[in-house]
Symmetry: C2
Subunit: 205 residues, 2 copies
């Protein structure tokens, strides 16, 4: 959603072509640029000392990323990895500074995006306390499939996004498939019954 707004500013833009599994930046590094997705899919992950990985956000076509650290003026709090073949436009910090000086509309759009993301993060935080693992997994299945229907999500990705383990995701998906709420298609899946999926495990599934 940002590409159209930013397009006029991008003159001599630096482009980047990467494949699944490639890192764009690592947690702890200092942000030197923003990234815009021309095509592909990128995930933001946090890795703990104990080796546990958490899937924080997904970025798709026309999304910007790296902006949170830029505005917070802190180092990256998480790492970004390509989830599939991806084409990026790299915008330098200097270019950003110029743009932010002049374009109030862009600043407001950024404010809206960050505000929505903060709301989502906090609702996920609350969800980890008051929803069961199967509920959160069912919600993640819907979220991923609605927002990025063409990507085949691994059980591991779904687990790290929903706050669970890939074994639990497998078990829940088997159950959901048995009940006809989803259909497994190789490693991929499709959603049959949206509504029942949201009500799943609403105490006792």
């Amino acid at each position: 959603m940002f590409l159209p707004l930013l397009r006029p500013y991008i003159k001599s833009s630096h482009k980047l072509s990467i494949k699944r599994g490639d890192f764009i930046y690592h947690e702890g590094e200092s942000p030197e640029s923003l990234f815009l997705i021309e095509s592909g899919l990128v995930g933001l992950f946090h890795n703990s000392e104990t080796g546990k990985e958490t899937f924080l956000r997904v970025f798709g076509k026309d999304d910007i990323f790296g902006h949170r650290s830029y505005f917070a003026q802190t180092n990256y709090h998480a790492s970004t990895v390509a989830l599939e073949k991806t084409e990026l436009i790299v915008i330098s910090k200097d270019q950003c500074n110029e743009i932010c000086q002049s374009d109030t509309e862009l600043l407001k759009t950024m404010l809206m995006t960050l505000s929505k993301d903060l709301g989502e993060a906090e609702l996920r935080l609350a969800g980890l306390q008051d929803k069961t693992a199967p509920q959160r997994i069912a919600e993640s299945l819907i979220y991923f499939k609605l927002k990025y229907p063409d990507h085949t999500w691994t059980r591991k990705e779904i687990a790290e996004f929903s706050g669970s383990t890939f074994e639990s995701v497998t078990r829940v998906m088997t159950k959901l498939s048995d009940r006809g709420l989803i259909a497994k298609e190789g490693r991929d899946y499709s959603i049959n019954d949206h509504q029942k999926l949201l009500e799943f495990d609403h105490h006792q599934g």
Copy 2:
């Protein structure tokens, strides 16, 4: 931190005086104003259908709140409650619109605040996966006492912030007190050993 920036805009400001336990707004309502704290303390809480409460953010003197929903242009995703006697300045949506039109510096400050809050929320999200309850409780004890040393936090508040239960908070605090890392003072507590508190339960406490 916002009051100084906003002070010049506040002419005929509406003021609000409330006591502990009073709600300022409820989850689901449409945001009609922003709030600025002249004195006191306010908590942002999310309540689930099952009755579980999650403590999302704290706001103190000079902090603004209600801004996330204003910028996201969505209804409130959580409720705000006074944690002690509090004096508020109420800023109408119209006033906000005017201010945002003209003041780029203020927009940038807002962007920084939201970016930092998003980072914190996501690190807490990750922490719920990869840290033990005692670790999270110890961190919350530090966070609360450093940021708001004069407030006496209840076990329930600490629990809802750290993602635990008040019984677990009690047990952990007893253990920490026995080891001399904190000192219980009536219902309040003080911190004796910061460093060891952070290392607590770093696998096996």
